[in-house]
Symmetry: C2
Subunit: 518 residues, 2 copies
């Protein structure tokens, strides 16, 4: 990790500086990403209009099912055309509603130094969530515990390019499912002072998260400041259910942003073709984005999606495929067309171990989402096995990959251009630059030096034990955890959070493990 | 490999078609790549001018060393300012010379169906070359033999997205080094009818290659048709040596294109900064491009480079880093500024085995060069361990990755848009598309299905033996080699090639293994 390269230039250079570079780990969060890469736009203006028109036709003529009485009543009041639970949404109504979604906003973290702007060119990396298994510090695949979740929150806190501690990076199996959201939220809040995500597993769970946010930030502060993010998945094609809609209302009423995320298995729940799949997904996202504004006008909201394509040979979801890259490029264009921040999924893949497949899949998707200009870049670390497990080793490597993508997105630097071109004249044909003052001054920031990649000769690598990338990454994770310093949380707030959890755990039956009302 | 998806649509659909899709391997070469992605341009026009001006200043004021008496005499005649072996090149002279380099041209293969346009939006994937080791069909790392080279030429021939058989993909150790270029060239010509590269290990070796090309294509045909490619590496900073310049003359005199490739170890033989390193590299490439036109006006030539950055911790070359992506984007802009086709290096990396590092490095670079709009995309398959070995397993996976990048670069298809959007209406909310006629008709081409990635559940994967990607890829390689059919080579031509080799092997002392005159 060469976050040292972010530091101001120094004349200290040379051997001592190199030693200090090796010795001093740097865990400070990178500022919010400002992605300066040109957007990869694979559609011309006419094609954007064609997707828009097709989506509006779908919304008007096919309609969207809202399986939720409150939402149906809300839509009726808003002037939509209801036919049973199918809501037909006029394009005028859609455009009017989404017009009040902020094009960018600022997340407020409990450490104000970790506040983040989101939207336009402003982006953030968020680790994966939702894994029912982990590969642990010993590489073993097993069900996670609360301590494992805490570990991932600590690693998120210490990874410079990760801008959030997310929420249930892994599912903690050692706590009743009905009460788990309380402990997950507390873990996100306690082990990191970066922004975090809020559980949306039920409307009441979402209310609990927001109550805990109110303890941490103050209810009044939340009225004008986004402090967390909820994710609401749609059931493609064209269905939103009561759980997600109820959670969405809980967030929007408190002015907190949700990701409006159609859950796409391309070819299974969309047409088997890229552009038409985007048209459907776009209609779905718009319907939910519009509903956020029915709930509360002006509330921040994020155009979302979960994207995979389905193998027509086996039915398995696929990642890292060219169509997923293309759909990311196209969805980015649509979100910008509507002026709404957008969320994508980063390092998805179906590899079973942390092997070459995992590397290809993750890097392909990371590149695509950077060129697509995604804002809320979720699932940026740890994902493997189609999300079934979070791999500690991969988490560490992915986090470094995000730091590398961050550097790429900064674009080339020009501040030392004339000075360095003068060095060409100093050195002349056939020389080398290692001893030149410009090199001495700039080597720390000039070229990213991946810590998790081994670039030594095979002889040197073998002499040092032939350590594979998984072992290197697990060693790094252990070292980080050894250096972890818990960010100070005000003692009164901590106590109030614990009191809230204790009260709710008395109220929520632990045995009622699958009751979605809790 | 889902090259089947390139086939015309059929109504055959359904289970039988899926079975046939699984059963019928498709080894036909994909047409030359037409990269429709927008170019990732990280410089504005002023910054392009700034690089250009800095490069021209270097050429005029610092000069370039040509360590070769013939080149010095050529430059003198061309009006350059010589100071010893340092040639100072006026920007007017440079601009005049490079103006006659064709912006695109067509490679002619011995099978005209494999002819390829290069330049502008037209690109090609070429496998790696030059590895002193291979990891073989059993995964063993060892020195290669002529039979191994033949194997790689066969695999190149059968990989749809690889557009060339290159030349010495691996170094055949079982033949004297002084005669090796003859056998390498014969192997490229015989085992594939795609275009190939010509050895430039010495001027006389280059002459041999071109004589063999004359046997295959006819000397007169070559006068107006590019049939092979030579690579000429520069010694950065700012030196071209006799070996490379002599080989360059051999190619250019016959109107055959060379890659003018400064060999960049960023930070060691360039300034430690991205934009200044590009300015130096650009000066170097321009000096060689200009010299091709001194040799023969109008001869095709390709702006080249070999790019790595150097770890300032260890001195090791690095790949897959953000600065290499940025430099690719910038070099693409410079080459287009001059209207010259350009070459890059694809899947470079320093991993010692085919592990996750190899996957990340390769995919990162592949994405970058696609967005950079590179034309001659060399080292596209097999590269590992900083080029020290070519891995059969990685070769197979990389070749599939190129096919996936190819698909991405085609952009979204629109021909079935209205039909597929109509399917959304047919299916309606909550349905699925698997049985819809549009899906049945389009599943083969809709989504790329990587053959080398396993996307099944971990339970299914484990039940099938938990086969790792290396083993899957080696299995695929063995299957391909079992199905290999040698493309017919005219018997008289074959005999003439063998006669030429036999004569030259009598003339060239086998024992004189390191004599660079041969």
């Amino acid at each position: 990790m060469t976050v040292a390269a972010q530091k101001p230039r120094t004349r200290a250079g040379g051997r001592a500086a190199r030693r200090s570079l090796r010795a001093a780990p740097q865990h400070d969060m990178l500022p919010g990403l400002e992605n300066r890469l040109p957007h990869c736009e694979v559609m011309d203006g006419e094609q954007v209009e064609r997707i828009d028109a097709a989506s509006m036709d779908i919304l008007e003529n096919v309609g969207v099912v809202f399986r939720d009485d409150i939402a149906l009543a809300d839509w009726k009041r808003a002037g939509a055309d209801l036919r049973g639970d199918r809501v037909h949404l006029d394009r005028g109504l859609i455009r009017d509603l989404i017009a009040t979604i902020p094009s960018d906003f600022t997340y407020h973290a409990r450490n104000p130094a970790h506040n983040l702007r989101l939207g336009g060119r402003h982006s953030m990396f968020v680790p994966m969530t939702g894994a029912p298994f982990l590969r642990d510090l010993e590489g073993k695949r097993r069900n996670p515990l609360l301590a494992d979740l805490a570990m991932f929150h600590k690693l998120s806190h210490m990874s410079p390019a990760l801008h959030s501690s997310a929420h249930h990076i892994v599912e903690p199996y050692d706590h009743p499912i009905s009460q788990r959201h309380l402990r997950i939220t507390y873990s996100s809040m306690k082990y990191s002072d970066k922004t975090f995500m809020g559980m949306t597993t039920s409307p009441k769970n979402a209310e609990d998260v927001l109550e805990m946010c109110a303890v941490l930030f103050g209810a009044e502060f939340m009225e004008t400041h986004p402090v967390t993010t909820g994710n609401c998945n749609g059931n493609s094609p064209l269905v939103w259910d009561e759980t997600m809609l109820g959670a969405m209302r809980a967030f929007c009423r408190r002015n907190q942003p949700v990701l409006c995320s159609p859950f796409v298995l391309g070819g299974a729940n969309t047409p088997a073709s890229v552009a038409p799949a985007v048209a459907q997904l776009n209609a779905e996202a718009l319907s939910a984005l519009a509903y956020t504004q029915v709930i509360r006008r002006g509330c921040p909201a994020i155009y979302g999606h979960y994207l995979s394509t389905v193998s027509m040979k086996s039915g398995a979801p696929m990642a890292g495929t060219p169509e997923i890259s293309l759909m990311n490029f196209m969805i980015g264009q649509m979100a910008r067309h509507y002026g709404v921040p957008w969320r994508t999924s980063n390092t998805l893949g179906g590899a079973k171990t942390f092997d070459a497949q995992a590397g290809y899949e993750s890097a392909t998707t990371l590149s695509a989402v950077m060129h697509a200009g995604a804002n809320y870049i979720w699932h940026s670390a740890g994902w493997n096995e189609a999300g079934m497990h979070c791999d500690v080793a991969k988490f560490i490597v992915d986090a470094e990959q995000c730091a590398m993508a961050y550097r790429m997105a900064e674009g080339p630097k020009w501040d030392d251009f004339d000075e360095a071109v003068a060095a060409v004249s100093d050195i002349g044909p056939g020389g080398h630059y290692l001893g030149h003052p410009h090199t001495q001054e700039n080597f720390q920031r000039a070229f990213f030096m991946p810590e998790l990649f081994d670039n030594n000769s095979i002889e040197q690598w073998a002499a040092e034990g032939g350590v594979e990338i998984t072992e290197r990454a697990l060693g790094k994770a252990k070292k980080m955890l050894g250096e972890y310093q818990e960010p100070v949380l005000d003692a009164a707030i901590n106590e109030a959070l614990l009191d809230y959890i204790a009260r709710r755990e008395r109220e929520i039956p632990a045995a009622d493990a699958l009751n979605q009302d809790y």
